[in-house]
């Protein structure tokens, strides 16, 4: 079997998919990908193909998500679930360091944990875009060592979408549904016509090294055409739209728009959107000393700009109102993110819409402000 080259397109039969999983493990990767748990397709470790959501998809819309059976045996026949890959690159809880008391001083302890290399199986185009954004967020003058260590070791196995959820708006954000070039391997699942198979595009040497261990054939024109048709179908199914033109100025220039008060009346400040968002990166740190006081650990955990204490200075939150916290989240995501990181912070995955318990839809919020940017709050109703 000749070694695979970057840029090459191969056909992987569904029957050989287990060999692909085996090859990943043999190359030293822990495979993480979609799996059924707690009534949703979440991300978890994939030990064999039975861990994958074969034949399952979901119905999701603003504030609702439900698993449903597909009428075929597609392996990746779903869109996106509540988890994103930040769960692995930027874990919800992470030990930053530990230290031991040393006389009147302290000494940092080397981290004994063996670093794990993950293969992310089933990254959508929007997920790849989210990782591109996160790379910039965590790559400051002092790059975050944890993130970058994991990121460097990670193999990105994209799966192009063959369908879209009503909450998807990747086409608006220019992030999908087709994947670009920043993957190690990109799969497109073709259930029919023809044999159930995958078109595999090799994006990197690391991807090629895995594929070398898997029986594949050169892809034919029919494979490529079927893959393109799948992506086109997904694009056509995209259910939501957010016009990105001028959205930065729209939000920054209208901080007193009555829509902010309107959305604040609905928002519960539950933080779900920030937890589900693949790019939200806010975190806090906590000191976890041992009971004996001879040892301590510094932990980082996800935080959210919706938490009242998030902005506190000398015990008083700068952003006291729900209005100011929702405004902070959305203007950061869609506006000031451009100033900070050179792009929008939104990839159009729709997770924040689905997982909002009251179904707040950011595309709708933006549309409402755009419809009448200079609207002013109505005067207080007379008693």
């Amino acid at each position: 079997m000749a070694p695979n080259a970057v840029g090459e397109r191969r056909r992987l039969l569904r029957a050989d998919f287990p060999a692909f999983l085996t090859a990943l493990r043999e190359r030293g990767y822990r495979v993480v990908g979609p799996t059924l748990r707690d009534g949703a397709i979440v991300l978890g470790e994939i030990r064999d193909e039975t861990d994958l959501p074969i034949g399952w998809t979901e119905r999701q819309d603003a504030g609702t998500y439900r698993l449903v059976r597909r009428d075929d045996a597609a392996v990746f026949g779903y869109t996106v679930g509540p988890h994103s890959w930040k769960k692995y690159l930027f874990p919800p809880r992470e030990r930053l360091w530990s230290a031991v008391a040393d006389g009147t001083s302290f000494r940092l302890e080397p981290d004994a944990a063996e670093p794990v290399a993950d293969a992310f199986l089933g990254m959508r185009a929007c997920d790849l875009a989210a990782v591109r954004i996160s790379d910039r967020v965590f790559d400051r003058t002092a790059p975050d060592p944890g993130y970058h260590g994991r990121r460097r070791r990670t193999l990105r196995i994209a799966v192009q979408c063959g369908g879209a959820a009503p909450t998807c708006f990747c086409t608006s954000m220019g992030t999908g549904p087709g994947v670009g070039s920043d993957h190690d391997l990109a799969l497109t699942e073709i259930v029919d016509p023809g044999p159930h198979r995958f078109l595999v595009e090799v994006g990197s040497e690391a991807g090629a090294a895995v594929l070398d261990r898997v029986p594949t054939e050169p892809a034919g024109a029919a494979d490529v055409a079927a893959a393109e048709a799948a992506v086109a179908r997904a694009a056509a199914e995209v259910g939501r739209h957010l016009d990105p033109a001028g959205v930065r100025e729209l939000l920054l220039d209208h901080p007193d728009h009555p829509r902010w008060a309107d959305v604040a009346r609905r928002c519960l400040s539950c933080t779900n959107c920030t937890m589900a968002c693949p790019t939200c990166f806010c975190s806090t740190t906590e000191e976890v000393p041992s009971l004996a006081g001879d040892r301590t650990e510094k932990w980082r955990r996800w935080d959210s700009c919706f938490n009242l204490e998030f902005s506190q200075v000398h015990g008083r939150p700068v952003r006291q109102s729900g209005l100011s916290r929702y405004r902070q989240w959305l203007t950061h995501k869609l506006a000031s993110w451009h100033d900070q990181f050179g792009s929008s912070g939104c990839v159009g995955c729709g997770r924040c819409i689905t997982w909002c318990p009251v179904g707040i839809d950011l595309t709708e919020e933006v549309r409402a402000i755009r419809a009448d940017p200079t609207a002013v709050a109505p005067p207080e109703a007379a008693p």
């Binding site: 190359r27 030293g28 990767y29 930053l96 360091w97 230290a99 008391a101 009147t104 001083s105 302290f106 000494r107 940092l108 080397p110 981290d111 063996e114 670093p115 794990v116 290399a117 967020v137 965590f138 400051r140 003058t141 002092a142 790059p143 975050d144 060592p145 260590g149 460097r152 070791r153 690391a206 901080p255 990166f281 806010c282 975190s283 806090t284 740190t285 906590e286 000191e287 000393p289 006081g293 301590t296 935080d303 700009c305 998030f310 902005s311 506190q312 200075v313 000398h314 015990g315 700068v318 952003r319 006291q320 109102s321 209005l323 100011s324 902070q328 506006a335 000031s336 100033d339 900070q340």
Partner: protein, 286 residues
């Protein structure tokens, strides 16, 4: 497998790691505020800092707090911090006795615009604990006094017993190459200085507005009122500099807590030109 066998990061390369410094001196400034002089581990020196920058100070088993550097830039071997007790972390830092250890990460943030100041009149307005972050800038100016125009300092505090660097302020009063006005919010009969806001002292400060740069540090309300008054007096808003305070948690622009509009105060601040932040300062809950 080469992909899993990553070399461990070199010592000091991890931005989260505090370096243990030894407390050399501890001076009580007021009832709840102390100034610590810290020494770097043997054989090393504290990293160079710019006036206006801050460090993350750490106490083993307790936690971290962002504290401005208050020391003399001309004495690089001493790291000086003035800490007011405001919670359990600052209580622990302020309680560190000589010989004990305080962890240090930093320095972080932008400093005062020292390059902008030569040849100009300099107005320094400090409110409360706003003086320590301004002290390195003042000492740098005084060290090369001839390079600057007039130097006017206005220092406001809650009460006479809340004044920090008291002896040094008294020594500055006796100099003829700077004018300092000290004012407090309220005082007893033993206070012969001014009582009132720092803004009330501005009319008595001597400076040529058009050729003045102003450095302001203190409570945000004070910053706002003072910057407004200075602009009204004719100081260009891009020459009025404010040191902002936000919730600085990581100090390296990663945790998101200190965001102020598009700025991470820990990175593009804490010092901002008034012209750049005026709209946000006047808006609530940004």
């Amino acid at each position: 497998m080469s992909i899993v066998g990553e070399a461990a990061p070199a010592a000091g390369s991890n931005p989260w790691w505090p370096t243990p410094y030894r407390v050399e001196r501890r001076v009580a400034e007021t009832g709840d505020t102390v100034t610590l002089t810290l020494r770097a581990p043997t054989g090393t020196a504290p990293p160079a800092f710019a006036p206006g920058q801050f460090n993350m100070l750490y106490r083993f088993g307790v936690g971290e707090a962002a504290i401005s550097i208050a020391g003399d830039p001309a004495r690089p071997t001493e790291l000086v911090h003035t800490v007011r007790v405001a919670g359990k972390v600052t209580e622990s830092i302020a309680g560190a006795a000589p010989g004990e250890t305080v962890g240090v990460r930093g320095p972080y943030g932008t400093g005062w615009p020292m390059d902008d100041l030569p040849g100009r009149d300099v107005v320094v307005v400090a409110g409360g604990l706003g003086l320590p972050p301004l002290r390195p800038a003042l000492l740098a100016i005084l060290a090369r006094r001839e390079r600057y125009g007039r130097l006017e300092v206005i220092y406001g505090a809650r009460s006479p017993k809340d004044l920090v660097f008291y002896d040094e302020v008294q020594a500055w009063r006796r100099r003829d190459d700077l004018r300092i006005q000290v004012t407090v919010d309220a005082a007893g009969r033993d206070w012969y200085g001014d009582v009132g806001l720092v803004t009330a002292r501005l009319p008595d400060a001597r400076f040529e507005p058009a050729r003045t740069s102003a450095l302001l540090c203190g409570p945000e309300i004070m910053l706002r009122l003072t910057a407004r008054a200075l602009e009204q007096a004719g100081v260009p808003p891009e020459r009025i500099f404010l040191s902002m305070e936000r919730n600085m948690k990581c100090a390296i622009g990663l945790c998101g807590h200190c965001q102020f509009g598009p700025d991470f105060v820990c990175r593009t601040g804490p010092v901002f030109p008034y012209a750049a932040v005026r709209d946000r300062l006047d808006r609530r809950e940004v």
